[in-house]
Amino acid sequence: MRRSRLTSRLMATTLPTAFLVGSVTGTAIAEPMIARNMSTYGLPGGIETPTAEALPDGTLGATLSWSDYSQRNNIVFQAMPRLTTVLRYSRVEGINDHNDLGHIWDRSFDLRFQALDESGWRPAVAIGLQDFMGTGVYSGEYIVATKNITPTIRASAGLGWGRLAGKTRPLLEDGDQGGKPQIDDWFTGSAKPFASISWQVNDKLSLAAEYSNDDYMRETRNGKDGDPGHLNLAAYYRFGENYEVGLYSLGGETFGAQFSFSLNPRRSPYPSGLEKAPAPVRPRPAVSADPEGWSGQWAQDPTAQPAIQTALGDALAKEGQVLESMALSANRAEVRIQNKRYIQQAEAIGRTARLMTRALPPSVETLVITSSADGVPTSSVTLNRADVERLENTQAGKIADAAVLTDARPYPGDLVMSDDLYPRFRWSIGPYFDLGLFDPGEPLRYEVGAEARASYEFMPGLILTGALRQRAFGSIDQKGPGIPGQRGEHYTPEEYEADPSLETSPEGVPRVRSDSRMYRSDSPTIPELTLAWYARPSDTIYTRVTAGLLERAYGGVSAEALWKPVNSPLALGIEINRVRKRDFEDVFGFRDYEVTTGHISAYYEFTEGFAQGFTAQLDVGQYLAGDKGATISLTREFANGWRIGAFATKTDLSEDEFGEGSFDKGITMSIPISWATGQPSRQRASSTLRSLSRDGGARVDVNGRLYEKVRDSHSVKLYEGWGRFWR
């Protein structure tokens, strides 16, 4: 079979050779100009001013910068080769709000688009929006050009509006909930020029100087502390490949320090992983050497399959694969495997194929490897054994051409379950670590404790799961939601619990998430206790029913169906939940609030054009507070499992009903642990940063949603990772 265009596109890498050969020089011609230093705003820049530089595509980094005026914590992501995005959480001095702290903690968001590359006499040119949807403290826009003057000296000049022109825009008026693009302000007011120059002294040290028009009006108490001046200087020192420290002075009076680090998903410490070598393919002996094996007579022997299944199951177990069931005839073998180890399903399939050549009698010519997601078959890869023998130690594209990917056969047919697999009881005890972010009084809160988890699988697809947590210590305290009309004041837990009417905001919105900090207890808690049933009623439809304590704050029933043909980049889903709010402390108790929430979802994996590598998801439906609306998510996904995305939800709640932030939005990050350690594992370090716990656009957190369960063994994800078939 010829490889489809889709397959070749997915397996083709656009990775610059430099990432493999380890040199960074010599490839910059066709790429955006790559940054030298990070600015205090966490983007490539001078010191405070921007430049037209970008980061290598896909880079995820952070810059922490401290000065007398501010503390800025920036997360940067180079979302596309020309698009740089920053999320910033800053402590800005000199502004007093309802919290009366003398400073505010402020979230802001930047975008920069590099419109032109440096070419000949022409400098690189970028256009940017700074703090374009926050409270507006840092709000400003710019156009900037950067040019290499000599190989070590780089100069930038630009034109800035708003903050960059020294005109700090007025903060939000009372009643404005912020958090949405302030398009009317963009590129308004007078523009002023800024400029910076940087000198790369050697590999590690670089110096920068700049002229900035920022006069720190608020930070200097409307100038009472004196104009800091406009000339800023900095020295940056790079150590290792990923770290940078900097010292800077703003106008010669104020000093600051910063620390940056960056990760590039394409640069893994162990690109091929440290897992052991796979078992080599064992070619079949000549017919004369094993006439009985080749004849297929062995298949008549009733002891043959159990013996082979046990041996293959043991070998697969060493590879982290559970042999769920197997069908064996004289010339065809099908195995169903649950991949518990490799982030790329193709590696699991490749290793299974290798082991099959070692375990099966020679007359078996057709090898079918069916991936099973917790008991539900999701896809089948069919291989000719002769191809596996012939194509071992060739590039993975060749076996991709020879393999056929189909929907799994829905019904077991002649599959024989492995012995002693079900019922399966698994448990674990370990520590847990919870983080709470974005509380203005205490921006970083944490909780540490012990967690026991257990699951009991009655049969493939029917699973009882539970978790029990005991807090040990931490700074996440029980706290009621904010008191309406008295910003900065919160109900005490006792007050809040005593008066059920407080569970609805004065605007009439039920508190479905804004009281989530009530869910904290010194006694044991049960974050999850569910019975889930996964099934596949037809070739392309998957279903899930989950009942019980779905998450810390809600219990009930959740039902989902997903249509996802194996070779389709499009999937459609529907989910309906009937849930009731759980009691704050009583582990099995409930409160009065009950709601039906559900969504119709569409998922699409982009496989060509500039959006290749992005997955989009659209959910339309009714949210936890009974509000109706839609969520759109866009995630950049790398073949190695890195995922970085953003989402936004708008519902029929008005901005005032929603409260601060106007609508729900956030970013998601997920990094496979194996990328960092080299040890094979399906574990991920994942995090969702959302603006605030608000009641609009909230969804119930059910584990085991189908899309993520199913797609690893479907065409886009499978072929993206196919390069590791022979790993």
Binding site: P271, S272, K276, T394, A396, S428, G430, Y432, A639, G723
Partner: protein, 221 residues
């Protein structure tokens, strides 16, 4: 699981749970990122401690290693010196498939060779997926000429990525040695092969930017 097994696991867990996780699911799933970090650290500490406590036994010389391996293992053996890793190891043939030979160390790292030329590595962290040396025929025939060599690597973004090199084959400094000089993408390397009747008993070959060179000596063909 028997009662004793449960009790033993529980006891082991009581000790382990303070810093990391434990359970009955094997290493593949029960670890949270937190626990993996703890485990990785613990392993590093243990390794260092072991290294410190190691009695100062003189390391075996390559000759001793070769002699021991030849005595213990009746099959084909090679001795491989990884220059960048600073270690020399004996590798034993585990499987032959159509002229491709997979040699492995006891720790299950593999070197895959065809007639003495490296075509891949496995389990080394920066593995060479497949080498396609267009120069093979020239080298085996001890002829001079040029050809293309394509090396496929597992790249950090999870894909398999080819790098192509232009190579010339010429007689080396010593008789019966052929030198293959390759260049491309700003890197160059030189492989040396001792050719005897189309076979390559001794060679020094470049595996890739991270792994560098290996010297390979056939102990028993």
């Amino acid at each position: 699981m028997s009662k004793t097994a449960i009790r033993n696991t529980a006891l082991a867990c009581a000790a382990a749970v303070i810093v990391s996780a434990c359970g009955n699911q094997g290493d593949d799933q029960n670890a949270s990122p937190f626990a993996i970090a703890a485990k990785t650290t613990a392993q590093a500490v243990a390794a260092r401690r072991a290294a410190n406590n190691e009695p100062a036994a003189p390391p075996k010389t390559p000759e001793q290693m070769a002699a021991e391996a030849l005595r213990v293992n009746p099959g084909p053996l090679i001795m491989v010196g990884f220059e960048s890793l600073g270690r020399t190891q004996v590798m034993a043939l585990t499987q032959e498939n159509g002229g491709m030979r997979t040699y492995m160390t006891p720790a299950e790292e593999a070197l895959i060779m065809r007639g003495g030329m490296v075509t891949g590595t496995r389990g080394l962290g920066n593995d060479l997926s497949v080498a396609e040396p267009g120069t093979e025929a020239l080298i085996r025939a001890s002829r001079t000429g040029s050809a293309r060599r394509v090396m496929h690597y597992y790249s950090g973004d999870g894909l398999e990525r080819p790098i192509d090199f232009n190579c010339t084959v010429a007689a080396g400094p010593n008789p019966s040695v052929m030198a293959e000089s390759c260049e491309g993408h700003g890197i160059s390397f030189q492989n040396s092969f001792m050719v005897q009747g189309g076979q390559i008993p001794v060679s020094r070959q470049w595996l890739g930017p991270a792994l560098g060179y290996v010297t390979i000596q056939t102990l028993r063909p």
